[in-house]
């Protein structure tokens, strides 16, 4: 993960006002700790991101992560109002941050003045009240570019100096620059411009039309730009043969490689991802979901798998000393317990037998 991703992570403590921190944290999913997306409400009145709760129910045997009540994913209901609130909040968040920063501005300039006049202790105290501002470029700006109060023109754009870090920024992006705590570089801006140009011709409408026509054709469900509209029911994987499952997965357009357990995991993940997308207000297309699946697989590969035992004999030889030690210690305790057990209750004996025989075979 690179720096840009790291900066895009938001958190309640971006704000310094207690009330705003509270507002921000109450609109977060308690599983992923991110701002909630396509919220679903459980019968026990807890709300989570659709994907988060679906994944959690798959792994944690149908229990609500907060109160442990039994929940099935069929009982999940869309929380439309929360969804509207969170979407509206996401759009307002940058504005809120900016307003908060502006209200702190007098304080900030005060601290800067003090720092210049070198009353070190006090200035430290004042700056600590201000939200985290990482002056990544402030040191460079001071030495090389100098402070420019008047807007300058470069490449036909209006450049202004940032009131916080003195960096020279395109006036169009100064707000975004401030929102990102002065971490937005000229490079980032150019990237944003490129991205916005790429999406300018609104192909959204064309896609929507294509979708209308596409869905009228029968049997053309496997189109790449299909938008999830109907949930996939969960299935009992034990009733499926390896081949059936493989065909099913290949039909979706996923890789059908791997063992049964892997195929099962992949299909479970796909069902969760798909169903979560059905709950979303603006669902992504199937090809985007397939791309996300590929990312997920990559992430799984990166995580270290547990040591695999290819050759049991070799494994046994390599770890012989460890096994011997375990066996001898188990034998010693079993003897001791057997002596105890002879005078006391008999139930101890059973447990001892299990422990003394299991270490060599279990590994």
């Amino acid at each position: 993960m690179d720096d840009a991703d790291l900066y895009s992570i938001t958190e309640p403590n971006d704000f310094s006002n207690d009330q705003l921190i509270k507002l921000d944290s109450s609109l977060r999913c308690s599983i992923c700790k991110d701002l909630i997306t396509s919220p679903m409400i459980t019968p026990c009145s807890h709300s989570f991101c659709s994907l988060c709760i679906r994944e959690s129910l798959t792994v944690a045997a149908g229990k609500c992560p907060v109160c442990q009540t039994t929940v099935t994913d069929g009982q999940l209901k869309r929380n439309t109002m929360l969804s509207e609130i969170s979407e509206a909040y996401k759009q307002t968040r940058t504005l809120l941050l900016r307003l908060e920063l502006q209200s702190l501005q007098p304080l900030l300039s005060l601290s800067r003045k003090r720092r210049r006049s070198d009353t070190s202790m006090e200035s430290v105290a004042t700056t600590s009240k201000v939200p985290r501002l990482d002056h990544r470029s402030s040191s460079g700006a001071g030495s090389s570019k100098g402070i420019q109060a008047t807007p300058t023109k470069a490449k036909g754009r209006t450049m202004v100096s940032c009131p916080v870090c003195d960096d020279i920024v395109d006036s169009e992006y100064i707000n975004l620059h401030l929102d990102k705590n002065c971490k937005l570089d000229q490079e980032d801006i150019e990237e944003i411009q490129r991205a916005s140009e790429a999406t300018k011709p609104s192909n959204g409408q064309a896609k929507a039309w294509a979708n209308v026509f596409g869905s009228s054709k029968k049997g053309k469900l496997n189109q790449a730009d299909e938008i999830p509209s109907r949930r996939i029911p969960k299935m009992n994987y034990d009733l499926k043969s390896l081949k059936q499952l493989r065909d099913l997965i290949a039909d979706i357009g996923l890789s059908d490689k791997g063992e049964l357990a892997q195929l099962k995991l992949r299909h479970e993940r796909w069902v969760n991802l798909w169903n979560a997308e059905v709950d979303a207000t603006n669902p992504r297309t199937k090809s985007q979901l397939l791309k996300e699946m590929a990312e997920w697989e990559k992430g799984r590969l990166k995580a270290k798998p547990p040591p695999k035992v290819d050759d049991a004999q070799e494994w046994l030889e390599n770890n012989k000393s460890q096994f011997d030690q375990l066996v001898s210690s188990a034998k010693a305790t079993s003897k001791k317990h057997a002596a105890d057990g002879a005078n006391g209750n008999g139930s101890n004996g059973e447990i001892i037998e299990i422990t003394s025989s299991s270490p060599p075979t279990e590994r």
């Binding site: 993960m1 991703d5 790291l6 992570i9 938001t10 958190e11 309640p12 403590n13 971006d14 308690s30 599983i31 992923c32 700790k33 991110d34 988060c52 994944e55 959690s56 792994v59 944690a60 229990k63 992560p65 907060v66 109160c67 442990q68 985290r132 992430g299 799984r300 990166k302 995580a303």
Partner: protein
Amino acid sequence: MTEYKQLVSGGSPDGMFTAGPISEDDFFTWEALIEGPKDTPFEGGVFLAKLNFPSDYPLSPFKMKFEPPLFHPNVYPDGNVCISILHTGEDRTGYELASERWSPVQSVEKVILSVISMLAEPNLESGANIDCCKLYRENKPEYERRVRESIKEQLGL
């Protein structure tokens, strides 16, 4: 999963511990420094623990290991921590309440706070270090002396 960085970068709670990834390249191994709680034999000690996150975190809990190992009834002799909040699945032994076990809504912060309270009040019912449990039950002053000694040793006094 990396959203967890936010938890640490901004809002570390009141100075009882710090935690964070060891390196920026690997967000799946963290290190935590924990201060020994006051009015316990662990007071004054600083303990280093390694946190290992699974790839499907937060669906599965992370693992916590004290390095070097800690002398405590609920810490295995190799340093692994045995605490109900980090356990999942069916409870075979039946004495851990479901609400005390791992769930995806837990966080690093909550777990470490539970560990700190575990340092103060060991849970003898599910001991991990049997010898230490025995010592705690039968001869508490001796247990406290040994804990203090191990802390001094660690700090190099």
